[in-house]
C-alpha cells in the first residue's frame, strides 16, 4: 500500500483538504483526528454507522434468551410456590430486560470492533503519533501517477508536512 500523508495543525485546513478530495477524487482517503469533530463528519458525509444493527439484533436475541432461560428452568424442574404459575412472565421480565441489556451491550461492542476494524495487530503505514496528540491528518491512497497531485492538493489546503509512505 502506497500513499501520501499530510499533517495539519488547524481544523479548518483539514476540512478544506477533505472538501478538495471530495471534489477531485484522487483516491481513497482516511482522516485522523485527536477527538471526534462534527465538522469533519459533515465534510466526509459518510453513511450512518452500522453499529445500530448489531445493537438491535443483540438486544432482541438477549430479551428472547432471557425469557426463554427463565421459562425453561422453571418448566424443567417446577418449584411450585403458593399456587402461582410455574412460568410467570411478570417476574421473568426482569431476566428478559437484564439479558437484553447484557447481550445488546456486548453486541454493540462487537459491532464497534467489526465496523471500526479493531483490534489492529500492527500500526501499518499512514499513521503518526501526533494524530493522537493534537494534529489532524489525511492519508490518501492515489494511483501511482497521481501521487504528486495528491501532495500538491494537501499542501495547498494547508498541510504543514506531506510525505509519501509505503
Amino acid at each position: 500500500m502506497r500513499g501520501v500523508i499530510g499533517m495539519f495543525r488547524e481544523l479548518d485546513a483539514t476540512i478544506e483538504a477533505i472538501s478538495a478530495l471530495k471534489e477531485r477524487p484522487i483516491g481513497e482517503f482516511t482522516v485522523y483526528t485527536p477527538t471526534p469533530r462534527h465538522e469533519i463528519e459533515h465534510a466526509i458525509d459518510a453513511a450512518p454507522s452500522a453499529v445500530r444493527r448489531f445493537t438491535l439484533i443483540g438486544g432482541l436475541a438477549g430479551v428472547t434468551f432471557g425469557y426463554w432461560i427463565a421459562i425453561w428452568i422453571s418448566d424443567y424442574w417446577p418449584l411450585v410456590v403458593g399456587g402461582k404459575p410455574i412460568a410467570s412472565w411478570v417476574p421473568y421480565t426482569i431476566f428478559g430486560f437484564e439479558v437484553m441489556v447484557l447481550i445488546g451491550s456486548l453486541a454493540t461492542v462487537a459491532g464497534l470492533f467489526a465496523n471500526a476494524r479493531i483490534p489492529k495487530i500492527t500500526m501499518t503505514v499512514g499513521y503518526d503519533r501526533r494524530f493522537s496528540h493534537g494534529d489532524f491528518g489525511i492519508w490518501v491512497e492515489p494511483s501511482p501517477d497521481r501521487i504528486q497531485e495528491a501532495e500538491q492538493l494537501l499542501r495547498k489546503a494547508g498541510a504543514v508536512e506531506v510525505r509519501v509512505e509505503r
Binding site: 485527536p34 477527538t35 462534527h38 424443567y76 437484564e98 470492533f113 471500526a116 483490534p119 500500526m123
Partner: protein, 488 residues
C-alpha cells in the same frame, strides 16, 4: 449631571467567578489546546510519595479486613454478631451501600451523556472507575457472608445437579442477574471510553514494555474518521442501554427487601427510594474522591467550580427525593393501621434505634439543605465535608432499613437485638481499603480525566476565526449554542 460610565469588558476570569453563568462559553478557559490537555492529564500518572502513602494505608485497611475474614472462616459466622432471627447484618448493609455507590458512575457517564449535561465531561471517568471498583467491592459481600466461601459458586443460579435448582421467582436470583449485568456493562463502558485515551498513552510512552501493553490495550486505535464514527455511535448505544440499567439494578436490589412480608420492608416505594438514594450516595462519593484529586493533581481548571456546582445541585435534588421518601414511609407506617408497622416505626424513631435514625436524617435530610446556598455549593471544603456526611448517612440508611426490621417482626419470639462486632467493623474497614487500593492503582496507570472527551470541549486550532454558531465549513450549527469548540 450623571456621568455615563462605559461598562468594562468582562474577562473569562471574571466570568468564572460569577455564579450561574451559562456554562459552555467558559467551559475550560484555562485550557488552550489539545497538547496542553495531553501534557497535563498524563502528567498526573507519575507516582508520588503521597500516593504511595495513600496506597499503603489502603492496603493496611485491606489487611485488617482480610485478617478478620480469616478469623471468621476459622471460628464460624457466629463471630459476626448474628443473633437469630437477625441473620442479615453489616455485610448486607455494606453490600447495598457499595452497590449504591456504584450507581453514580453510570448515572454521570450514561444518563448525563444522553442529556448532554456539560459538567459530566471532566468528572465521568472518575465516577465510572468508582462504579466498577464499588461493584467489585459489593460483590465480595455475598461471599464474605458464607460460612464456606470456597463454595461460592453454589450461589450462582444456573441449572445444576446439586439439589440447588434455581427458583426464578426469587428476588435473590434476580439480584444475581442484575448485579452481574451491571458489573459487565459498566466495565465495558469504562473500557470502551478508555480506548482512545490509552492510544494517547501508547503514543507518548517511551518505556518499551509499557508501550507494548498500552498498544495491546488500545487495540491498535489510530484515531481515524472510521473509528470515531462507529465509536461515537457505539458509545451512544451503550449509554442508552446503561440508563435503564441504572434504574433497574437498584430497583432489583430493593426487591430483596420489598418482596418479603417483613414490617418496614414490604412497601412499593422501595425501588424509586433506593434508586434516588443510590444516586445521592454515589455523587457523595464522587465529591469525596474528585475534590482532593483536582487539588493534588492540579486539575482545578479541568474539574471547575461550575462542574462541582452542577453536581451539587444534583445531590441536593436527590437528597430532597430521599427526604420525601422518608416522610412518606413515616406517613404510611402510621396510616397503615398495622400494629407491626407502627411498632417498627416507634422502634426506629424513639426506640433502641433512635441514634441511627438521628444520624441518617441529619446527614441525608438536614445537612444537604445547605446546598440551597450557592455560596456553599461553590465552596469545595464544605462540599467535601458534606460528602463525608452523605457517605455516613447513606450507610446508616441501609443499616436502619435492615436491622430494626429483622429484629422486630410479627411475633415476640422474633424480637431480638443486634450488635455488630469487631469482625463486622474490620471487614467494613477492609472493604474501604479494597476499594481505595484499586482506585489508587487506577489513577496512576490510566487517566482519571477523559482526554479525548475534554479535547471535544477545547477550542480546536483554526486558521480563520469564525462567528459564534457557525462551524468552520461555514454552515450554521444544527444544535445548541453552547456546543464547545466555538469561537466568538
Amino acid at each position: 449631571m450623571a456621568t455615563l460610565v462605559k461598562p468594562k469588558p468582562v474577562t473569562d476570569v471574571e466570568l468564572l467567578r460569577r455564579p450561574n453563568l451559562p456554562a459552555a462559553d467558559v467551559r475550560l478557559p484555562a485550557v488552550r489546546d489539545y497538547e496542553q490537555v495531553d501534557d497535563e492529564i498524563t502528567g498526573t500518572l507519575h507516582p508520588t510519595v503521597a500516593w504511595f502513602i495513600g496506597l499503603g494505608i489502603a492496603i493496611f485497611f485491606l489487611l485488617i479486613g482480610a485478617l478478620a475474614w480469616t478469623y471468621q472462616i476459622y471460628s464460624g459466622l457466629g463471630v459476626a454478631g448474628y443473633n437469630p432471627p437477625v441473620m442479615w447484618g453489616v455485610y448486607i448493609v455494606t453490600f447495598v451501600f457499595w452497590v449504591g455507590i456504584g450507581h453514580a458512575g453510570t448515572l454521570i457517564s450514561a444518563i448525563l451523556y444522553l442529556f448532554r449535561a456539560g459538567f459530566r465531561t471532566t468528572i465521568y471517568r472518575c465516577a465510572e472507575a468508582m462504579t466498577v471498583f464499588a461493584v467489585m467491592t459489593a460483590g465480595l459481600f455475598p461471599i464474605l457472608h458464607l460460612g464456606r466461601p470456597w463454595k461460592f459458586f453454589w450461589l450462582i443460579p444456573y441449572p445444576n445437579w446439586r439439589y440447588l435448582w434455581p427458583q426464578m421467582k426469587s428476588p435473590l436470583v434476580w439480584d444475581v442477574f442484575a448485579i452481574l449485568t451491571y458489573l459487565t456493562v459498566s466495565t465495558t463502558f469504562l473500557y470502551i471510553g478508555l480506548i482512545p485515551d490509552i492510544a494517547v498513552l501508547r503514543d507518548r510512552e517511551t518505556n518499551p514494555i509499557r508501550k507494548r501493553i498500552f498498544g495491546m490495550l488500545s487495540l491498535g486505535w489510530r484515531n481515524t474518521d472510521r473509528e470515531w464514527r462507529h465509536f461515537v455511535r457505539a458509545y451512544l448505544f451503550l449509554a442508552a442501554f446503561s440508563t435503564p440499567l441504572v434504574l433497574s439494578v437498584h430497583s432489583v436490589v430493593s426487591f430483596d427487601f420489598a418482596m418479603s412480608l417483613v414490617p418496614g420492608w414490604h412497601t412499593t416505594i422501595f425501588p424509586p427510594y433506593f434508586v434516588a438514594g443510590a444516586i445521592y450516595s454515589g455523587i457523595g462519593m464522587v465529591f469525596t474522591i474528585i475534590i482532593p484529586l483536582r487539588k493534588y493533581f492540579g486539575l482545578k481548571h479541568y474539574v471547575t467550580i461550575n462542574d462541582l456546582d452542577a453536581a451539587a445541585k444534583l445531590a441536593l435534588f436527590t437528597s430532597l427525593v430521599v427526604g420525601v421518601a422518608y416522610m412518606n414511609e413515616w406517613f404510611v407506617g402510621w396510616y397503615s393501621g398495622s400494629p407491626a408497622e407502627k411498632q417498627f416505626w416507634a422502634n426506629r424513631l424513639w426506640g433502641p434505634w433512635w441514634w441511627a435514625s438521628a444520624i441518617l436524617y441529619t446527614c441525608n435530610m438536614v445537612l444537604p439543605l445547605s446546598l440551597f446556598s450557592q455560596h456553599l455549593r461553590r465552596n469545595t471544603t464544605w462540599l467535601w465535608i458534606l460528602s463525608i456526611f452523605i457517605n455516613i448517612g447513606m450507610w446508616f440508611e441501609r443499616f436502619i432499613i435492615v436491622e430494626p426490621a429483622l429484629s422486630h417482626e410479627f411475633e415476640p419470639w422474633q424480637w431480638a437485638t443486634y450488635h455488630p462486632t469487631w469482625v463486622d467493623y474490620s471487614i467494613l474497614a477492609g472493604s474501604f481499603g479494597w476499594f481505595s487500593m484499586w482506585f489508587l492503582l487506577f489513577i496512576k496507570q490510566l487517566p482519571v480525566v477523559a482526554i479525548s472527551e475534554v479535547k471535544e470541549i477545547v477550542k480546536p486550532r483554526l486558521r480563520v476565526r469564525h462567528m459564534r454558531g457557525v462551524d468552520v465549513t461555514g454552515h450554521h450549527l444544527p444544535f445548541e449554542q453552547d456546543t464547545p469548540g466555538e469561537y466568538d
